[in-house]
């Protein structure tokens, strides 16, 4: 570790992994409820399990981003973190607020939580992914501002690099677009229109800046390729990301009451969205091929390459699959969307957080890399989780194609629930593949406890 204050990242990474485990457990509960409808009912209804699943994902990725920033920024800026104390305090605030939120979802009916948490003061709850009660939403803003203050002051004090500027831009964008979660008009169309300013402009906008910065940082470290080259690539990739992704928001504006012209804007721009992901894949492989050193942390390199490939497949290809308006007319709001969501989130954001953790965690624990034995176990977990996610996506896609056909294309369309029963086999296969994913995750956690000789074989 070059700077003592980089240690601030460690608890963030530990919390991220812990919450990741929780997210997957609730994913398995939901997956089972798809085929055994009354499983855990009424203790944990599906909507509660789903809230926990998606909110845990968001929270642990935010922990990962913040941890990544606390590790990366001092090293890029060549100075200690502005305030390690503030970083530690905010960690506990965020963890306690997050845990209380999840527990409150599980402890009482959602309507009761809305009543207790002051939802009638500012009505923000009950919209997909933004289910958090008002105090949690306010807490997120406070934590984000304190975090941004800390990171920004550090960057201002030290060396300014392209990587740290882009990371900072992404993180500020994250905080600013979250403010739209407080805007919830009675007009459903406007509500949905600006809801996407949080959801889409996060995952297909500013989060990709964070992703690019984290990936570029790790690639510089593990390949030793000249910073000028890597940062130039980074600018090109994020340029492509934002010029396609911002107007690409239009692919959500086909059927929610917004004007027809969005079908053109959305289709054309979002059809280009795979290009930056393809560039990222080429970038990752190109840099590793041109490497000037053999970094002993091979697991981190594997995660970095995996991020490139899987984000291209999940966000790029599976996104393109249903983004053109005439296709989306039939696939909108089906298991096709779920298939895309799973692989895109895993390939882009889960994997980039695991990349930075894989690179930074050994150093935070006082060694340049883990023992070859621990790395082999970690790489096993990479393959188990990645391959099972590919199959989860394929099974959901199969379910989605059948659903679209039976419910929407066929001359004699069948009711939703009838179709759901007909495609149950694919939900079962998805659930078992989900169990394999959990095994992979257990192996991943286990890799942190494997000792052995630290020097590479």
């Amino acid at each position: 570790m070059q700077f003592k204050s980089q240690a601030a990242a460690k608890p963030y990474f530990v919390a991220a992994i812990g919450l990741f485990v929780g997210q997957i457990l609730f994913g398995l509960i939901m997956g089972l409820q798809y085929v055994v409808g009354d499983f855990l009912f009424p203790a944990i209804p599906f909507n509660v399990a789903r809230m926990v699943h998606t909110n845990l994902l968001i929270v642990w990725l935010l922990f990962g981003f913040m941890g990544g920033a606390y590790y990366l920024v001092p090293e890029e800026s060549e100075t200690e973190l502005y305030s390690p104390k503030l970083a530690r305090a905010m960690f506990w605030v965020f963890l306690v607020a997050g845990a209380l939120t999840i527990l409150s979802y599980l402890a009482m009916p959602y309507a009761r939580l809305a009543e207790l948490s002051g939802n009638n003061i500012v009505q923000t709850m009950g919209r997909e992914f933004l289910e958090q009660p008002l105090p949690t939403k306010a807490g997120i803003v406070v934590v984000a501002l304190a975090f941004l203050f800390n990171i920004t002051m550090t960057v201002l004090r030290g060396r300014k690099t392209a990587i740290s500027s882009i990371l900072l831009l992404g993180l500020w964008g994250l905080a600013i677009f979250f403010l739209f979660s407080f805007y919830n008009p009675s007009n459903l169309v406007l509500d949905k229109y600006y809801w996407w300013w949080v959801v889409h402009l996060w995952v297909e906008g500013v989060w990709e800046l964070i992703l690019g910065a984290l990936l570029a940082f790790v690639l510089i470290k593990v390949t030793g390729v000249d910073r000028e080259v890597i940062e130039k690539w980074l600018y090109v990739i994020i340029t492509l990301t934002l010029i396609t992704g911002i107007v690409g928001t239009g692919h959500h504006y086909y059927w929610i009451g917004t004007p027809e012209y969005w079908q053109w804007w959305g289709s054309v721009f979002s059809a280009l969205e795979p290009i930056p992901f393809f560039a990222m894949t080429v970038f990752a492989f190109n840099m590793v091929n041109r490497r000037r050193r053999e970094h002993p942390n091979r697991a981190a390199t594997l995660w970095a390459l995996g991020t490139g490939v899987m984000s291209f497949l999940g966000a790029g290809i599976w996104g393109f699959l249903h983004t053109l308006a005439p296709v989306n007319y039939y696939t909108h709001g089906t298991q096709i969307t779920a298939a895309h969501g799973h692989m895109a989130f895993y390939g882009a954001y889960v994997m980039v957080v695991l990349t930075i953790i894989s690179y930074a965690m050994p150093i935070l624990r006082g060694r340049p890399c883990n023992s070859p034995r621990a790395q082999v176990v970690e790489m096993w977990s990479f393959w188990l989780m990645t391959i099972s996610m590919v199959f989860i996506t394929l099974f959901l896609t199969a379910a989605g194609i059948l659903q679209v056909w039976l419910q929407r294309v066929s001359d004699t369309p069948l009711p939703f629930m009838v179709v759901q029963e007909k495609i149950g086999l694919f939900y079962w296969m998805r659930e078992w593949t989900g169990v394999v994913f959990l095994v992979g995750l257990v192996v991943y956690v286990a890799s942190f406890f494997i000792k052995g000789d630290e020097r590479p074989a």
Binding site: F46, M51, L188, T239, I246, V247, W255, G333, P415, F416
Partner: protein, 141 residues
């Protein structure tokens, strides 16, 4: 990439391109806002609809159902349920939950009053009359 294309050129294209396309997006948003009154059925937003939307949200209906195709994919689309089932069926259905049919997906009992149910139906009726460019493809949603 060639030596003539420098990092600072890449950076300038990034900032210039981002600002340009964000402004384009804002312009389209501005136009959308001005066209929406003709499409979004805002004249139908009564106090009952407002309360219905609040009930929709505070019971996390979106956690199982889709509304205009957005939400969870566990239970039927409700953007057009008013057309598919009609008001009486919707109210009777919500009151009858859960079915406790073994192995079947279950919907919780939300203990709505009769006026709550009327407001919820008013909200679903309003939603069903938004101009969605003919989506969904048929009544099954």
């Amino acid at each position: 990439m060639s030596e003539t294309f420098t990092k600072s050129m890449a950076r300038n294209i990034f900032y210039g391109g981002t600002v340009f396309f964000f402004l384009l997006f804002l312009a389209l948003t501005f136009d959308t806002q001005s066209v929406l009154p003709k499409r979004d059925n805002r004249a139908a937003i009564t106090p009952a609809v407002v309360h219905g939307k609040n009930l929709w949200e505070t019971n996390d209906c979106i956690g199982c159902h889709t509304l205009l195709g957005e939400g969870a994919y566990f239970a039927p689309e409700l953007g057009n349920v008013y057309k598919r089932r009609g008001p009486d069926f919707i109210k009777a259905w919500i009151k009858a939950q859960p079915t406790h049919a073994e192995g079947r997906r279950q919907m919780p009992q939300f203990n709505f009053s009769d006026s709550d149910l009327d407001d919820l139906v008013a909200f679903l009726k309003y939603a069903s009359e938004i101009n969605t460019n003919h989506w969904p493809p048929n009544d099954e949603g």
